[in-house]
């Protein structure tokens, strides 16, 4: 780690905001989770980008929540 931990502190504070933003996107997260869980059922096969659509929805919701908190805090 660096001497005063500035980078680490910045990254960590960004990470600390994740749970709140994730909470704002509950529906999309649940949809993504269900998609992945369905692939674990017998007969399903999980491969890369199987649930890409759901994940994109989750991600855009997440980014929107991030923008909202940023603009809201300024």
């Amino acid at each position: 780690m660096s001497g005063n931990g500035a980078v680490w502190g910045r990254v960590r504070s960004r990470l600390r905001a994740f749970p709140d933003r994730l909470a704002a996107c509950g529906a999309e997260a649940a949809a993504y989770g269900r998609c992945v869980q369905a692939s674990t059922a017998p007969g399903g096969r999980l491969r890369k980008d199987l649930c890409a659509q759901e994940f994109e929805a989750l991600r855009s919701c997440f980014v929107a929540a991030a923008k909202k908190t940023l603009t809201g805090s300024h």
Binding site: P19, G33, V36, Q37, D49, F55
Partner: protein, 355 residues
Amino acid sequence: MRLQTALPLEMLRLTRFPTRWRRPPAAGVPAKNVGFRKVASGVSSLGSASPRSLNIFDRDLKRKQKNWAARQPERIKFDYLKEEVGSRIADRIYDIARDFPLALDVGCGRGYIAQHLNKETVGKFFQTDIAENALKNALEMEIPTVSVLADEEFLPFRENIFDLVVSSLSLHWVNDLPRALEQIHCVLKPDGVFIGALFGGDTLYELRCSLQLAETEREGGFSPHVSPFTAVNDLGHLLGRAGFNTLTVDTDEIQVNYPGMFELMEDLQGMGESNCAWNRKALLHRDTMLAAAAVYREMYGNEDGSVPATYQIYYMIGWKYHDSQARPAKRGSATVSFGELGKINDLMSQGKKSQ
């Protein structure tokens, strides 16, 4: 061979132990590693070609992680798990109808076991850990203690001196567990007891599965993020191989609810339990973390929105052999045959009549 040690802390008394302490050297351990150890170093030299020893964990990194965790301003809020397991081990110590003048805590952290014990049960407690910050920030306890900076695999003590050795949730980071157990067996007195607790195979399975699924979906493959644990069958073998008698292994599950996966990971880091296996992936992408958190909540979440994390703890108790302990009977000394088991009631009443 003289034992030279660079001792930064107050472990002065130990240098007066006769330095002739001998571990039966493991086959293949180069002679320079026997009897000569820098106690403060965490890992045997990477080049040492002992065929028995595995190198799964980066002990240096583990020491840095534990040092960091012990130095945090809010370290007390991460203590809950270790305190709980420490108190359960203290219960097991109280269950043994004996008191122990000299005891050793291997991988003590900030002293979670000692604070639950009283002076009558344990006379003096040696606390060892690889992280000096943990020893420096130790919790208050009434038993007189001596802090020793030592690695679990290289205990700097003479044979046959401790009545009791305990270890709470630190042996799961040891590279060579058979050897650590052998060393513990060595420093125990005959009729001494070892009580240990370590994490079992089901620990954090929710986290492991969520990360695995999310990484497979997001990145096409996955790498281990939760360190490997010992299986419960192996524990019995390990203890037996180390020379312990009268083994007892039992398991316990503690389930802790967290608001989400990120809080769980933060707590694990605060406890000093971050991954330090050599085969860990250094980077966890933010997308993968997000995906894993979503999967975790969906697959394992509770109704109120929190997510559970399971900690499976194995408690093991092993005794060092002493003549007074019960032994299996000699072969050929049977007076009754198993074939007569069906008539056991008659046999017993016959025995009573003849008395």
